[in-house]
């Protein structure tokens, strides 16, 4: 991997797979370059996901996985964002498929994607009160079965009342 616009960005490798760490202000530019440069041709967005590192600062890391059909290679772009301001730019202007993938990352980690047209929960209930893939969320959940049942019933009742 070569030809990146600034010298501050360094490509790294593990098991033959390459990625770069980019400050979040530059992510969209880098993604655009990777997608639109004809020599690179990373036109396919495989995945958008997030990892949580509570003991590090900044806490969250967001990863975009790209594929180039012409080079037959994959490449990852990573960036970090702190817990107090968990915002990274959205890739929806470049790929329509980023829509659901970013909604899932928001749903699971609470990382917000600035510029996303419709950022809301996708897998969890829309009024769920936590981000389940954060490390502090316990494996067994935060509610007992009985509390869940109560919560679901209350929700159903509320939705029933709000029906037009």
């Amino acid at each position: 991997m070569e030809a990146f616009p600034d010298a501050g960005i360094e490509a790294r490798e593990f098991r033959g797979q390459w990625w770069i760490d980019v400050p979040r202000e530059r992510v969209l530019d880098v993604l655009r370059l990777l997608k639109e440069d004809p020599d690179l041709g990373f036109v396919f967005l495989n995945d958008v996901t997030c990892t949580d590192h509570p003991e590090e600062e900044p806490r969250f890391r967001v990863v975009w996985v790209l594929t180039s059909f012409s080079r037959k290679e994959r490449f990852r772009v990573r960036t970090r964002c702190p817990e107090e301001d968990p915002v990274v730019p959205s890739a929806t202007p470049l790929w329509a498929g980023a829509d659901w993938l970013e909604r899932e990352a928001f749903d699971m980690f609470g990382v917000k994607f600035a510029g996303h047209p419709d950022l809301r929960r996708i897998l969890m209930p829309e009024d769920f009160d936590a981000f389940p893939l954060r490390k502090e969320f316990p494996m067994e959940g935060t509610r007992s079965d009985r509390q869940w049942a109560k919560w679901v019933l209350e929700r159903a009742r509320r939705t029933e009342e709000g029906r037009p």
Binding site: T49, D85, P86, A96, R121, L123, E126, P132, F137
Partner: protein, 409 residues
């Protein structure tokens, strides 16, 4: 940075009426509708019989598998992957084990790779057969479904004799396979694979491919142009139906797929009929790969000899100290992943099943992300459904061939 979007309101998922008193009606398709193949809910806004807006609502099967993987570690996670794409559980098992092996830098012996190829292709045949059968049934042709299930029954029997389980097989392990092929298994599978293309021609193609009703229902329905398919990140037969020649088995070969001769069927128009044809052809190509893999089946071990990742043979455990220690460590802790991260995708029947695994030096992945093909393939629905008739939505959904267990994980 621009300001973050507002937190969603509790009822944000409710679809608001776009035009007041326009005579449009809202139809809840699902969560439990026969054509949604699981629990997918789609809120359709209809103008007469035409869909104006479609809002998919997923998550009914969300089980938090990524959290489970972080907690349990690689080996204990394998049975959970059976419950993702449950039409080809063995393909998911193989995908997660291989991703872990890529992270650990393990190279399998040739026999293990060849057996994995046979299993993955059997899974592909099984999944495509159900996809086609259910597709035909949704559009109104019940007979094909029964013929497809006759073939799938044979595959279930093969799985039973190979793995001990018919459905939730959990067959491979990180670093190898749980057991070798039983006697006579390879011959039985080869006979099945030799006869399969003719049976597909007779029982599926002759009933559907040139059937006037089938063509009328499918051609020009749910057309996905090439650029749109790439932009939405479609993979598998849905991408290839739109004319993109991208199959990981060809483009980024693993398990020695480069030594087998097979073709990648590609569509031209990207409509539901092209996706149907791609799946039919892929069944035949899979049968071809199975025949070649079984003919050239190498002999040798089915797992890496290294006792740190794979259980040592039982007779050595009982007689030797070192193997006993390895056995104890693998059973209590499991194979350890190094510090590092990888993304590895397997060409699953439904598309690219990708694993992004971050290892932290322990036997549990620090983060295991699954890029589920059904999830990404379904994200095109808000673009694809508007403009279609209600009866066409059934055909479009079936032509995308998704599984909600994998979509919601």
């Amino acid at each position: 940075m621009s300001a973050p979007p507002e937190a969603p309101s509790p009822l944000a998922r409710r679809v608001e009426r776009s035009v007041e008193d326009s005579g449009r009606i809202f139809l809840n398709m699902g969560p439990s509708h026969p054509s949604t193949h699981g629990v997918l809910r789609i809120v359709l806004e209809l103008d007469g019989e035409t869909v104006v807006r479609a809002e998919p609502d997923i998550g009914y099967l969300h089980r938090g598998m990524e959290k489970i993987a972080e907690t349990y570690g690689f080996t204990k996670f394998i049975p959970y992957t059976d419950r993702m794409d449950y039409l080809a559980p063995i393909a998911n098992n193989i995908a997660v084990c291989t991703a872990a092996e890529v992270l650990m830098g393990i190279d399998l012996p040739p026999r293990a790779k060849a057996i994995r190829v046979v299993c993955a292709e059997l899974g592909r045949i099984s999944s495509h057969l159900l996809g086609l059968g259910a597709f035909a049934m949704d559009v109104g042709a019940l007979t094909v479904f029964l013929y497809c299930f006759r073939e799938r029954e044979t595959i279930y029997n093969f799985m039973e004799s190979l793995t001990g389980a018919r459905f939730t097989v959990s067959y491979p392990r990180v670093g190898g396979l749980s057991r070798d092929m039983p006697e006579g298994w390879a011959d039985a599978v080869r006979r099945f694979a030799e006869g399969l293309p003719a049976r597909v021609d007779r029982d599926i193609e002759r009933l559907l491919t040139r059937n006037r009703i089938w063509i009328d229902r499918l051609q020009g329905v749910g057309t996905i142009p090439r650029e749109v398919a790439i932009s939405y990140g479609l993979t598998g037969p849905n991408l290839r139906g739109s004319g993109v020649e991208w199959d990981l088995r060809k483009e980024m070969p693993y398990f020695g797929y480069e030594q087998y001769e097979f073709d990648v069927p590609v569509g031209t128009k990207g409509d539901a009929y092209d996706r149907y044809l791609c799946r039919v052809e892929e069944i035949k190509e899979s049968a071809r790969i199975i025949r070649q893999a079984l003919e050239r089946m190498p002999s040798g071990p089915i797992s890496v000899g290294d006792g740190k990742t794979f259980l040592p043979p039982k007779e050595k455990v009982m007689t030797r100290m070192e193997e006993l220690i390895h056995q104890f460590m693998i059973v209590t802790e499991g194979p350890k992943a190094p510090v590092g991260e990888i993304f590895w995708a397997h060409e699953n029947p439904k598309g690219e099943l990708g694993f992004y695994i971050v290892g932290d030096g322990t036997a549990r992945p620090y983060r295991l992300r699954m890029r589920a093909p059904s999830f990404v393939n379904l994200s095109i629905l808000p673009w694809l459904l508007p403009g279609a008739m209600i009866s066409d939505t059934v055909a479009i959904l079936a032509s995308l061939d998704f599984v909600m267990g994998e979509c919601d994980r």
